[in-house]
């Protein structure tokens, strides 16, 4: 069955531009100055006080007050706490307070071997766990200086793009609910369940898969995966049209999202913001296109950018990135080679279970790999991938032992959250929820 490449349907979104690679953007417009993010004093958008100081703080002006939002609140973005200094309904300064989900994963990463490491990092960004696993595995493989087989790379790309689809669908669901359309949860989850079912068939788990491991992937694709994937891909575009009809053209969406939470590209670059947030400002930077990893240079897709840097652009970009991912998955289906799904290096890959009964060597390798772990030569490396939230990087320092000496994940949501006070400045508090939801932070990778 010849897959029909699906081009993005952009006719409902006239503001969205299409570029295929980063353009040299040297001129800085008047509106593109990053002045306000450098401010340190009272005129900054960030309420720079410690938690105890905020509690004791009494603003001079009678009309101002400090209101606490979270960490337990119905906006389903996890445990984010916001301190808002408000004058009436307008937010003047704010401070995101995080740390309510701090799990000490980087410390745990130093206690687990490289084979176990993927189970740890996968729980950081729990909405798109395969990307964290991919970053960790790519970093380990770079340290080991091994090449994974072609089929493993294509399987990784397939899994990651499917995960991108499920993560963006989750965004549609939670964004809709935060704006007020509680039914969006049902719509978003309907499609997400189908993708999760396919992921469960391939990896064994619906979430936190521990599938992409150093050396390749954990298991080969099961029989019938092609038909299942094609079925999802053929159902999705029509359901995305549903989303368009329900959300994109709707006046309520326009009123609530357009012009809200505006940020420009210079500010984003100064703050280190990446992902759909940066692309919504009109700056086309996508690691898959500009610094390709795996085989993203062999598939054809567009990098979507917005024009105004507001919430509506971010919502539209994420919706259309689903369509781009569908396009990529069709191409992956065509190009998937046959071969090994993990490297055959005996020192790294555990042997198949049946061989353990037959060969003493296999038994010893299995024992060593699972109890002690394979040793990785000393050095340090940083590898980044483009997750649905932005640049997800993994920095590993190895001292030649079987466990990482230092494992650090650069979570995109952590840096992206810094943009929140600037977006909320002089916005109404009702917009705060819309802004947080389009920034789409996942607190697991913020707090680690």
């Amino acid at each position: 069955m010849t897959p029909v490449p699906y081009r993005s349907n952009l006719r409902m979104l006239p503001e969205l531009g299409e570029v295929t690679s980063m353009t040299q953007n040297e001129t800085t417009l008047e509106s593109e100055i990053a002045d306000r993010v450098f401010r340190r004093g009272e005129d900054s958008a960030i309420l720079r006080m410690s938690e105890s100081e905020i509690q004791a703080y009494k603003p001079q002006d009678d009309r101002r007050m400090v209101v606490n939002m979270g960490p337990q609140h119905p906006s389903t973005h996890g445990v984010l706490r916001l301190s808002l200094e408000m004058e009436g309904e307008t937010v003047i300064r704010s401070k995101p307070i995080i740390g309510y989900l701090h799990t000490g994963m980087e410390k745990t990463g130093e206690q687990l071997s490289y084979l176990q490491g993927a189970t740890n990092v996968t729980r950081m960004d729990y909405s798109s766990p395969l990307f964290s696993e991919l970053a960790f595995s790519l970093a380990t493989e770079k340290l080991l200086e091994i090449e994974v087989p072609e089929r493993a790379k294509w399987i990784r790309m397939l899994m990651c793009e499917l995960n991108r689809i499920s993560s963006h669908l989750l965004f549609q669901a939670t964004n809709g609910m935060d704006i007020g359309a509680v039914g969006a949860m049902i719509y978003g989850w309907r499609e997400r369940e189908e993708v999760l079912r396919l992921l469960e068939k391939i990896t064994g788990l619906r979430m936190n898969h521990n599938f992409i491991r150093p050396g390749g992937v954990a298991a080969d694709l099961p029989d019938g995966w092609r038909d299942d994937t094609l079925q999802i891909l053929s159902n999705l575009p029509e359901r995305l049209e549903d989303f368009d009809g329900l959300f994109t053209g709707q006046p309520i969406w326009h009123e609530r999202l357009q012009g809200v939470g505006v940020i420009n590209s210079e500010e984003c670059l100064a703050l280190g913001v990446t992902g759909p947030l940066l692309r919504s400002t009109g700056y086309a930077w996508d690691l898959r296109k500009d610094m390709p990893y795996l085989h993203y240079d062999q598939v054809d897709f567009d990098v979507l950018v917005g024009t105004y840097g507001d919430c509506f652009d971010r919502f539209a970009i994420r919706l259309n990135e689903i369509r781009e991912s569908i396009r990529i998955v069709y191409q992956i289906l065509e190009k998937m080679p046959s071969g090994d799904y993990r490297t055959q290096d005996k020192k790294i890959t555990p042997p198949p279970r049946t061989r353990i009964d037959e060969s003493m060597e296999a038994l010893i390798h299995h024992f060593k790999i699972f109890t002690e772990g394979f040793k990785v030569p000393a050095g340090e490396v940083y590898v980044a991938v483009e997750s649905p939230r932005g640049e997800l990087g993994c920095y590993i320092v190895s001292d030649g032992g079987p466990k990482p000496y230092r494992m650090h994940i650069r979570g995109p949501s952590f840096t992206n959250l810094q943009v929140l006070p600037h977006m909320l400045q002089n916005a109404l508090v009702a917009d705060a929820v819309a802004v947080i939801s389009t920034v789409d932070p996942i607190m697991g990778e913020v707090d680690r």
Partner: protein, 180 residues
């Protein structure tokens, strides 16, 4: 599986990568190479100047600020002119024009764990530096908001240091002799 001999990288004479000039410095700072990635090693005093030069040279995005505690691994590959200290602050920069990454590693001694903040060049480093302060205890001079970010405010100690115990509680099994 090839192994890279760490001693080789220390030798200033060997050319490890064609992208690195043979005098082995970039932006007047010694460099090293790890798996094909270039790393700059400025002193604490040279640090802000190097950042200034890099930010003017197209490295407009500060991707990551983190730190490593080398208490248990003092031997590591560094250029000959750099003396190892307990902490290393690692800065990761990205240039969109050149599509290149650059890493900086600055040695910070245990006795005086202070380093300048790069907030004035990269405001995005604010939260990242707070995290390094929280988890390692390295103070950033000139940081607008030097408070803890991940641990509770009244927490004692800096968890990611090597001498800070992971805090694992032994698992108690039901009906085990002596178990609670």
């Amino acid at each position: 599986m090839t192994e890279i001999d760490p001693q080789e990288d220390n030798n200033a004479e060997t050319e490890t990568n064609s992208a690195i000039p043979s005098d082995q410095t970039m932006y007047e700072v010694p460099i090293s190479n790890s798996r094909g990635q270039t790393i700059l090693h400025p002193d604490r005093d040279q640090y802000l100047d190097t950042i200034k030069k890099l930010s003017e040279d197209g490295f407009k995005v500060c991707i990551d600020v983190t730190a490593v505690d080398y208490l248990e691994n003092p031997e590591r590959d560094l250029p000959n002119s750099i003396s190892p200290e307990r902490f290393e602050v690692v800065i990761n920069l990205l240039s969109h024009q050149k599509k290149e990454r650059l890493r900086l590693r600055i040695q910070v001694p245990e006795s005086d764990p202070v380093i300048s903040s790069i907030f004035d060049f990269y405001p995005g480093s604010e939260a990242l530096e707070r995290e390094v302060y929280d988890l390692f205890g390295i103070e950033f001079e000139g940081h607008p908001d030097p408070t803890r970010i991940l641990m509770p405010e009244n927490w004692n100690g800096h968890p990611l240091r090597k001498d800070y115990d992971a805090g694992a509680i032994p698992v108690q099994f039901k009906n085990a002799p002596g178990a609670g």
